[in-house]
């Protein structure tokens, strides 16, 4: 690099377009999009009102009870007997306006947390699956990934069984499989014999102590698992397994799965978040996987490979930033969906524990007073759900147009 400095051809000192990053570009397009701005304003209003109410507007739902003010229609002017109730009151005489605003804190929180769960778990699984499927890993990379994965997967049974060493066991399993895989790498034939044989032996031995039939059955099972393992670990096998699991989750009707999860975890806001989050995992897993696979097909990833960049650099500098925009769009839309699902769970009585206000639960509680004319108790929480969901949908739509300029002309 000691060559002299020289100039060739004269420096071109103009660029075609003015200087701004794609993100700024997208932001400008978003701002220019009127409906998206409406969505953004709605979303921000809801978020702000909920946050401010939570931190600065005292409300103690536990003591909120006033039989004398029950089921009052909206009251815009205070009189001797009644306070102002913008949205009326419910059966326990609680101000619906107040509860709607405070309920926003809970409802929006459910949406946010649920989407975060789906996004984190689904996104990471999809990312790994896509990465495994499209890029040749080296030993350490797959070692670390499989160990982490084993640990993550192990956490679930560990948490259920309250035996945390299982997580470590799984992690070791992941790491071990990679080491063994590595050891047999290039010895395709060995791999084909060793794994099934080992599986059959390992499974059959303890079975022998019980009886020959058990040993036989265990041996066959071990053989099958061994055959499965005799395919290279990592790579497509991993991706296949993950995607199959996602298929299974997807083939359950979403509400039923959420209800089942809530039934398992017990009711409550946090449990609802988990349930909705889990149900949403496959969406993000699939999205992330396909996004990774399409990005890794791009020439600039090949270029980074040619430059000699490592996989982790590739992941963080090329893949992640470029799969972000579809994921952002999906997450925004997903938020809308999560709020709707949370409201549905709340409506069925599986959401927030009373007296905590939550829109779906408020709707579910007050719905039975509709026939006696208390329309306000149903209208306002319902409107809150619809408007906030609409806001996120509008915003998501706008983001899609802004981040993916293909559609625009």
């Amino acid at each position: 690099m000691e060559e002299t400095k020289f100039e060739i051809n004269g420096v071109e000192d103009f660029a075609v377009r003015e200087h701004r990053s794609l993100w700024i570009d997208a932001w400008r397009r978003l701002v220019a999009n009127r409906t998206a701005m409406v969505g953004l304003i709605v979303v921000v209003l809801f978020l702000l009102s909920a946050t401010f109410a939570h931190f600065f507007w005292d409300y103690e739902p536990k003591t909120d009870l006033d039989y004398s003010a029950k089921l009052l229609p909206p009251q815009l002017i205070a009189t001797e007997e009644v306070d102002i109730h913008l949205f009326g009151t419910d059966k326990l005489g609680r101000d619906i306006f107040r509860r709607t605003i405070h309920g926003g804190w809970n409802s929006l929180r459910v949406g946010l947390v649920a989407v975060s769960i789906s996004l984190l778990v689904g996104g990471i699984l999809g990312l790994l699956a896509g990465f495994f499927e499209s890029i040749r890993m080296n030993f350490w990379e797959s070692f670390i990934l499989m160990t982490l994965l084993g640990f993550t997967l192990g956490m679930l049974p560990a948490w259920i069984a309250k035996q945390f060493f299982q997580a470590i066991l799984f992690a070791l399993l992941g790491a071990g499989s990679i080491i063994f895989d590595r050891y047999l790498n290039g010895k395709k034939k060995h791999r084909l014999y060793i794994f099934p044989a080992l599986g059959a032996m390992l499974a059959a031995l303890p079975g022998l102590m019980v009886g020959p039939m058990v040993a036989l059955v265990c041996g066959v099972v071990g053989l099958l698992i061994g055959l499965l393992l005799s395919k290279p670990v990592g790579g497509e096998l991993f991706s296949n397994i993950v995607m199959r699991i996602m298929d299974i989750i997807l083939s359950f009707p979403s509400y039923l799965l959420a209800i089942a999860i809530v039934a398992f975890l017990g009711p409550g806001l946090e449990k609802g978040m988990i349930a909705i989050g889990v149900v949403g995992i496959p969406v993000y897993a699939r999205l992330a996987r396909s996004a990774v696979m399409s990005v890794t097909q791009k020439e600039y990833v090949l270029a980074s490979h040619a430059v000699g960049e490592s996989h982790s650099r590739m992941l963080f500098r090329h893949v992640l930033p470029n799969i972000l925009s579809p994921i952002i769009v999906q997450a925004t839309m997903g938020l809308a969906n999560a709020i709707l699902s949370a409201a549905a769970l709340g409506f069925l009585g599986l959401g927030a524990i009373p007296p905590e206000p939550e829109w779906g639960a408020m709707l579910g509680d007050s719905y039975k007073y509709l026939s006696s004319g208390a329309w306000w108790a149903v209208l306002f929480p319902g409107l809150a759900i619809m408007l906030s969901v609409l806001g996120f949908n509008l915003l998501g739509d706008g983001l899609r147009d802004a981040l993916d300029p293909k559609i625009r002309l």
Binding site: L65, Y67, A263, G266, P267, P354, P355, D365, Y367, K368
Partner: protein, 565 residues
Amino acid sequence: MSKKTIFKLFGLLMVVSMLVAACAPQTATEAPTGEVSDDVFIFGRGADSVQLDPALVTDGESFRVTGQILEPLYQYEFGTTVPVPALAEECVASDDAKVWTCSLRQGVKFHDGTDFNADAVVFNYERWRFTGNPYHFDTQVFEYYEYMWGGFDDDSVITAVTALDEYTVEFTLRDPLAPFLANLAMDMFAISSPAAIEAAGVDYGTPSVGAVGTGPFKFVSWQEGTEIVVEANEDYWGGVPGVGQIVFRVIPDDSARFLALQAGDIHGLEQAVVEDLQTAESSDDLYVLTRPALNTGYLAFNYKIEEFNNPLVREAVDLALDKEGLVANFYGDYGEVATNFLPPLIWGHNEALTDRGYDPERARELLADAGFPDGLSEVTIAEDIVDAEGNVLYAVGDKIPLRIYYMPVTRFYYPSPQEIGTAMAANLFAAGIEAELYLEGDWPTYLDGRRNGTLVGLYMLGWGGDNGDPDNFLGYFFAKGEEPMKNEGWYQNVEVAQKLQEAAITPDREARQALYEEVEQLLHDDIARIWIAHNNTPLIFSTAVEGYGPQPVGADYFEFVTFVD
């Protein structure tokens, strides 16, 4: 294979499926009319029947229908809990009260045309009692038989049922049983046609078969989850019923049911929210009837919590609850504040007892006296609480937040448990008892928790009577004895148990009544639980119909319903 072939295949598939559909057995009835006959009474209810073989079920919605189709030997008098003869003309006890001889009503026929006689009664009782009986199927649980008569086979209190002649049956008991007639009158001991059971086998009582009895209505059809249709039995011994058909229609949601009534889709319903009741009362098209209360909603203590063993704390809780307010707001005019476990309708109810009243200030003082001047928000576990698998959920000395569990489902005694729970918690909060509302899963989980004693705190529950006998209330909970009751918060009161055991075998009604009143007094003094309310369940009807008779216990009388012209 080319695309065209695929299209052809699809076409073929369509044609074949149409043919199959066309050749399928045509199950339904004659050419439909398309009009609602004005002789059909449609009753809206919250849930479908489980089974129409009454011996197999425990739910009121099953009995509501079986009560129209089948009859027991005795039944409860219209509007009361007094047993009166039905299929039996009279049952007479022997002096030692161990043998009952019943003479049966003559000339009664089952809907399938077979005769009702002593053999039919014997057939039914033997079927229920003997687990080896060919019609006592393995998959069937004759739960109430076991519960009311002490068990099956040799455990049964009834040691023999014999036909003395065609219309006389003799029941032989191992021990005297005070509520024998009341038990006899229960809907689950209604007599089914032996021929029908023999024909249908294990399917007897299912939607495809229905039930065959002697009652005022005959089974017509059952669309699961939707409706059950019965039609008038023109040959009924008690006279021809007032309407040609009854449809029991399932509308699970309270307010949807009321809307359906308002829209004229149904003629009557049971269970509605208080506000709808007010609407109904003020409406010209609707009127409200009430079912006399045979239920009690209560708040129970888990006695494995140290603080609850302190009577001062229990009293403070009692005083902190605004029961009048709760009842006024959630039960309307139909509920009453409970002072006894036994509803006033049942003899044994102790008139002398009164509610301690609503006094949050006094509650605070009591709490302070009990050593909680700053209120109570945290409680201490006094004994290990163990779940069904033996895992220790809470160990001695654990401090946990004070909880108040509310029920996840609506019951007669708690018409809107979540809101009532919320209100109770607010009441307690106002008196310095900071109880967190808590939901232990859904109903099965809740009941599991109750059964295993793992509801750690205060919890809502209640009881509805089966046969109008006080033993059915008090005996079930407090008679078991000397050891603490796991399934009711580990409460233990030996004195109460002894009195109840005595009452159960005392033939003399007066003596029994005295014992029960004493028991109520003891429970009141001990504040074993906090009785909240009895609910006179409201039923709403269209003014187009009249004559419905709500029963405090057992199935309602539908045969007196008629249309108003």
